[in-house]
């Protein structure tokens, strides 16, 4: 029997708490597959965010810790400096990385720490009930923008990846979308490169994943994938930013 697709070793064989069709499950699997492929399961240390992925350590079969909301990159800095031979990555939502944690995100990137960031952009605060995130689109209805995000009141969708790419300490930034087998395979390659960069000492690497939240977008899983493709990508174009 030859396995054409086998469950990754770096992912526990358990059911997750994520909603049906949630992109976090796809992202967790991609990270696990990349860790397996690079053979670094015993070397990797993940920092889980506050947000829907707060329990990532229940799913990844490697060392994980958890940081206060938004502070994952500060914790990652400390761990990487103390244990430079480990491969340290953060996994953060848009509320975590681009709202409450903006300070830690920008300064860690600006210091050019040799870290890897997996950034899940689902355009809402999932864990707390679908409130507006900095990445919510103009006109997007959320629990706190009932008539849709209005730039006059709430500003514009924050393109934190483009902002970070301006910093000399940042070496690799790519935006991918978890919407189809082809795009998910590109996302897997991006995760591999972002981890490889750290192993080779290249420096701060970030992969932003446009990721569906069917529950708080009020759509079926299939429609959520369509919304990313038709609407979200227009605001957040895919591809290598740096």
């Amino acid at each position: 029997m030859e396995k054409i697709y086998a469950h990754p070793q770096s992912l526990y064989n358990v059911s997750s708490h994520y909603c049906a069709g949630c992109g976090h499950g796809i992202a967790h699997r991609l990270v696990a597959e990349a860790v397996d492929e690079l053979g670094i399961r015993e070397k990797v240390i993940a920092i889980a965010p506050v947000g829907c992925a707060v329990l990532a350590y229940d799913y990844w079969n490697f060392d994980c810790t958890e940081a206060a909301h938004g502070r994952a990159l500060a914790v990652a800095t400390a761990i990487k400096r103390v244990r430079p031979d480990n491969v340290v990555f953060t996994y953060q939502g848009d509320g975590d990385l681009a709202a409450i944690g903006t300070n830690e995100t920008i300064h860690t990137a600006n210091r050019g720490e040799n870290l890897t960031v997996i950034f899940i952009n689902n355009a809402v605060y999932g864990m707390t009930g679908g409130q507006m995130a900095p990445t919510s689109l103009i006109g997007q209805k959320t629990a706190t923008t009932l008539k849709g995000r209005d730039p006059a009141l709430q500003g514009y969708p924050l393109k934190i990846s483009e902002l970070l790419a301006q910093l000399p300490g940042v070496k690799y930034v790519e935006r991918v979308a978890l919407i189809s087998p082809a795009e998910i395979n590109k996302a897997r390659q991006a995760v591999l490169l972002a981890l490889r960069n750290q192993i080779e000492g290249v420096g701060f690497s970030l992969v932003e994943m446009l990721s569906p939240c069917p529950t708080y977008w009020g759509m079926s899983a299939q429609a959520a994938m369509g919304w990313i493709k038709e609407t979200m990508i227009k605001e957040f174009p895919l591809g290598r930013i740096k």
Partner: protein, 68 residues
């Protein structure tokens, strides 16, 4: 012969896999699982070409594929 194993108890019924199968070999089971959703099943007599699209889409890692 290629076998598709679907963990029907873990399936949450997002059906993203059904939409991407190029041979339309996946369908919805008649009976609810423990989560209370009708899980995905491999249709009787259907064909699998081993493209992995279903396993690549599945957010819950419910699908394994084997070649005999």
């Amino acid at each position: 012969m290629i076998n598709v194993h679907i963990d029907g108890q873990r399936c949450k019924g997002c059906y993203l896999c059904i939409a991407v199968c190029p041979r339309k070999s996946l369908g919805v089971a008649a009976v609810l699982n423990k989560k209370g959703v009708k899980p995905v099943e491999f249709k009787k007599g259907a064909e699998c070409i081993g493209c992995r699209f279903c396993a690549t889409m599945c957010p819950d890692c419910c699908i394994e594929i084997e070649k005999e």
